[in-house]
């Protein structure tokens, strides 16, 4: 096995044994990035010299007797997390040259553990997209098939981890943006319970839905990262006082007696048969390990997508108002007056999908439409939450497909926003409820594209999801498959 395929545990072992230093490891991965990124476009910014300096610092700390599960381990951040001194673009022309004077809490915490940031990862513009095609910096390509999308919005993170450019990365998930690209790229990613991971310094798309989380090649690596990412942050009012936990502690618990619910609504029209088969096989493996599988109903799940596409744009229309051409954003040259400054700067700075969602969001909050759209959507959101509450009275985890289809070709859904929105049909309800959910690789299609299985849990059952995924990965090999990416495809 090669260094770029190592798990976090193996990397730590190697660093402890002095098999390799953090500088050597970092150098290997930087070379790999420089060779493969032209084909994948996963990185927007590579911070080579900062990374080597951070690796040298980590090596010095280790030489001084320090140790830690993340000390000297390379990683990369989705370009939605603000990094002091390194530009943070959010995939947008609007922030093409924006350099934050502060670190996001997540960045601060992982840096303090001695992690080595290799750069910033491509994403759908302002996290709005399911294919990574809305990025101002061009689409990311799926390492398993570069003609295919990696999913989105954390497409750069998923592709970088899958291709072995970094062992782990951060992502954010507003309607499936960690889980859907994790599924399409064959990696493991968890959207934690809302309030687990601080949103401070994480550029907001839809504040009541956004949640940061780890993306890695297995559940244990996710747990190691989440151990540091999850913490109460007084700078984020929605951060939960009990956010911190040890996600490794229960990782090995056997699945004997685990109550698994399979929602009928997740296996209806629109589900690709190959995806269905792989997920059914995954559920069978859980049953083989002693889980009790039963069918459940989530009757309001079919309303999740339309509810989401009222609430998320509403919040986004307001969250993105600060990008106005006045301070740190793109500014149109020579506007005639204030109105033109706003109009031109925002027209030029935002891409089509972002503009579409701002328009929708502005509309649903407008006088005379608020009750029909925004308020109604909030009511449906309560019903969706209630669905899960009822379900979790009977089962411990809910299992189904992460996405209706495997990765689709670049450009395939660009002409039809609604078709694109349906890529998140199974992931969105989780964000509306605020519960945790995770995607694990559970097979491949005949064309060699990965399939993801989604595990959903009750509030603060993040540890249980990681436990189930970990036990599943002890008995399956899907997560050990690595794509072969070739530099020639640049």
């Amino acid at each position: 096995m090669e260094l770029h395929e190592f798990s976090l545990r193996e990397l730590r072992q190697g660093l402890c044994n002095r098999d390799f230093s953090s500088v050597e490891l970092t150098t290997v991965l930087l070379k790999r990035i420089s060779a493969l990124n032209p084909a994948l476009n996963a990185f927007v910014t590579v911070t080579e010299s900062d990374a080597l300096a951070a690796a040298a610092t980590a090596d010095a700390r280790r030489a001084a007797g320090e140790d830690g599960p993340l000390l000297g381990i390379p990683m990369a951040h989705k370009d939605i997390f603000c990094t002091a001194g390194v530009r943070t673009t959010c995939g947008s022309r609007m922030l093409e040259h924006f350099v934050a004077p502060y670190n996001a809490t997540v960045v601060e915490r992982l840096t303090a553990e001695g992690m080595v940031m290799l750069g910033k990862l491509n994403m759908d513009e302002f996290a709005m997209g399911s294919s990574n095609e809305t990025s101002y910096f061009g689409p990311v390509r799926n390492p398993w098939h570069t003609g295919m999308v990696p999913g989105g919005s954390s497409g750069g993170s998923a592709a970088a981890v899958a291709a072995g450019l970094v062992p782990v990365a951060t992502g954010t998930d507003t309607g499936g943006s960690i889980r859907q690209p994790a599924a399409l790229c064959g990696i493991t990613g968890i959207k934690p319970t809302y309030g687990r991971v601080s949103r401070y310094g994480m550029i907001a798309f839809a504040s009541s839905l956004d949640q940061g989380g780890p993306m890695a090649r297995n559940a244990e690596d996710c747990a190691l990262l989440l151990n540091v990412m999850a913490a109460h942050d007084p700078r984020d009012s929605t951060s939960h006082p009990a956010a911190a936990s040890d996600f490794l502690r229960g990782l090995e618990r056997p699945l004997q007696g685990l109550r698994v619910g399979v929602p009928e609504e997740f296996f209806g029209v629109g589900l690709d048969p190959e995806v269905a088969a792989a997920v059914q096989a995954g559920i069978a493996e859980l049953a083989r390990q002693g889980a009790a599988v039963q069918s459940i109903r989530l009757p309001n799940n079919p309303h999740a997508v339309s509810t989401y596409y009222v609430l998320a744009p509403a919040e986004a229309s307001s969250n993105l108002a600060r990008f106005d051409g006045v301070r740190y954003t793109h500014r149109a040259p020579n506007p005639a007056d204030l109105t033109e400054l706003y109009q031109q700067s925002r027209y030029e700075g935002f891409g089509a999908e972002v503009r579409r969602r701002i328009l929708v969001g502005t509309y649903v909050l407008s006088a005379g439409y608020y009750d029909a759209y925004y308020r109604k959507a909030q009511q449906v959101r309560s019903l969706i939450r209630e669905d899960f509450r009822r379900a979790f009275a009977e089962v411990d985890v809910i299992v189904g497909p992460t996405t209706p289809t495997p990765a689709f070709p670049l450009g395939a859904k660009n002409a039809d926003p609604v078709a694109m929105y349906l890529a998140d049909i199974y992931t969105i309800a989780v964000n509306l409820a605020g519960i945790p959910a995770l995607s694990v690789p559970c097979g491949f299609t005949a064309a060699g594209l990965p399939v993801g299985m989604q595990l959903m849990g009750d509030y603060f059952a993040d540890d249980l999801l990681l436990n189930v995924a970990h036990r599943y990965q002890q008995e399956t090999q899907w997560h050990r498959a690595h794509p072969s990416v070739h530099a020639r495809e640049a």
Binding site: C82, P101, D236, S237, T238, S318, R322, D324, V326, L365
Partner: protein
């Protein structure tokens, strides 16, 4: 004004809360710093920055709610008011909309004619102030100063209960007194820490409310009065010539003493309010409300009534002395152990007069309450006369010093020695035999002449009451 028209007025007051830091970040609220010095990622609305509510601002809102007997909403919501403006860095203002922290309450207002009126308060809600646009210093451009962005405001909305500019001014003054008593706002109207918008409409007596105009940013009691008076005439002229009032926002121009249309209803922003997902609902538990209740000072109404009883003051005096907390505190320090009304006369007359003339605030008064009390005591114990006391006060105010030291060094001690006064009286009466004879013949008025002569001879130091008594005795005895 034509008696058939009734004016209906409601006020929206913005009181800047005097917290040390801003409402959603740790930046100082201090006024007058270099532009953009008091800013951070949160109040600059940098990407990813999040608001965290300042509990001190909440406590100050609770204090106001308790002081006006209002319902405190145990669960209130922060909402976003969305509009674009360069000095509004987030593109929205965090405010409260559907559920404010303070609900219905009322304020009892004293009117100049001695009457009282109860004015309903609809609600009071917390919100953040915007920054400032600076147009003067930049040619063809505008500068933005965000020092003020995020300063906490309490918007206090009245019911349309006022029926004249006099009532509106009385309400605003009462609220001004109250916020300073509660120490929630410094009340500085020039700097804009206490400003008001007035909703004014006319109707025929008993008819439903007419269409209103909203007059923005009135930053003095006088401007409020003049703007309302102007608006009454403007609306009456329109209505009486058969026209209709347009619902609009108007601006008062103090230089021209008129209101001008700013924007009509159709140009009004659609603010697209919705609950701010970055902030949890504000929950007030009973213990927090009780904690604030325990810190409440004695409120102006209670203090006014106590002053009337404890110091035997007329209602007018008690009203003047309790209009400000500092003044009332000062008075109470002066009134210790001395006659309350005498102390009130000194505070309201000589002291306020001197301060006013010198343009000095009470906080910076050169004569401490202790010194003024001693001065009053020296009048009461007859060390000096009231007239001499005025001279001493003048010296204390302009040159400083100690009361007794001035009395001694300038030899101002009052003469109360009966023998000494009798000797002076004797000398004066002897020197004016004609006047003495006339007095005895019935010209009572001449007593004043003799008193004046004796006082003059004593350089004002003889005790006037004693002079009177001894003179009478002497003259009558003949």
């Amino acid at each position: 004004m034509n008696m058939d028209w009734e004016v209906v007025i409601g006020l929206e007051v913005h009181a800047q809360l005097n917290t040390i830091t801003k409402i959603f970040c740790g930046c100082p609220t201090a006024f007058g710093a270099e532009p953009n010095l008091h800013t951070c990622p949160v109040c600059l609305a940098m990407p990813g920055a999040l608001p965290v509510l300042n509990g001190a601002a909440v406590d100050k809102a609770i204090a106001l709610g308790l002081a006006i007997g209002a319902e405190l909403n145990r669960h209130s919501i922060f909402a976003r008011k969305n509009y674009f403006y360069p000095d509004l860095p987030k593109g929205y203002q965090i405010s409260q909309y559907e559920l404010p922290v303070v609900g219905k309450g009322a304020l009892t207002v004293q009117l100049p004619d001695g009457g009282e009126k109860v004015v309903g308060v609809t609600r009071a809600h917390l919100e953040e102030d915007a920054g400032k646009s600076l147009h003067e210093a930049f040619i063809g451009q505008s500068g933005i100063d965000l020092n003020r962005a995020g300063t906490p405001l309490l918007e206090i909305v009245s019911e349309p209960d006022m029926r004249s500019s006099v009532e509106a001014v009385a309400y605003l003054k009462k609220l001004h007194t109250l916020v300073r008593y509660l120490d929630i706002c410094d009340g500085n109207m020039q700097e804009g820490s206490f400003r008001c918008d007035a909703n004014v409409s006319l109707r025929r007596s008993g008819a439903p409310y007419g269409t209103r105009a909203e007059i923005k940013n009135l930053n003095s009691f006088r401007f409020l009065e003049k703007a309302i008076e102007y608006e009454i005439v403007r609306q009456r002229d329109i209505l009486e010539s058969g026209g209709r009032i347009v619902q609009e926002t108007r601006l008062y121009d103090a230089n021209r003493d008129e209101t001008r249309s700013m924007r009509g209803k159709e140009e009004a922003n659609d603010y697209r309010y919705f609950p701010d997902p970055d902030l949890l609902p504000l929950v007030l538990d009973e213990s927090r409300v009780e904690r604030v209740r325990e810190t409440l000072p004695e409120l102006p109404d209670a203090r006014r009534i106590r002053f009337m009883r404890q110091y035997a003051l007329p209602a007018y005096d008690a009203g003047v002395l309790t209009a400000g907390r500092t003044l009332a505190d000062y008075y109470e320090q002066v009134a210790v152990g001395v006659d309350g009304k005498l102390a009130a006369n000194w505070v309201m007359g000589d002291l306020l007069g001197a301060l006013n003339k010198a343009g000095v605030e009470l906080e910076d008064c050169p004569v401490s309450a202790g010194k003024l009390r001693l001065l009053v005591q020296r009048i009461e114990d007859q060390t000096i006369s009231g007239k001499i006391a005025k001279d001493i006060f003048d010296e204390l105010f302009h040159r400083g010093g100690e009361v007794d030291a001035i009395i001694d060094s300038r030899g101002l001690r009052q003469i109360t020695d009966v023998a000494a006064i009798a000797a002076m009286v004797d000398a004066i009466v002897t020197a004016h035999p004609q006047q003495a004879a006339d007095f005895r013949a019935g010209k009572d008025k001449l007593l004043g002449f003799f008193v004046g002569q004796v006082m003059k001879a004593s350089q004002g130091k003889a005790n006037p009451d004693q002079v009177n008594a001894i003179l009478l005795e002497h003259l009558q005895k003949g």
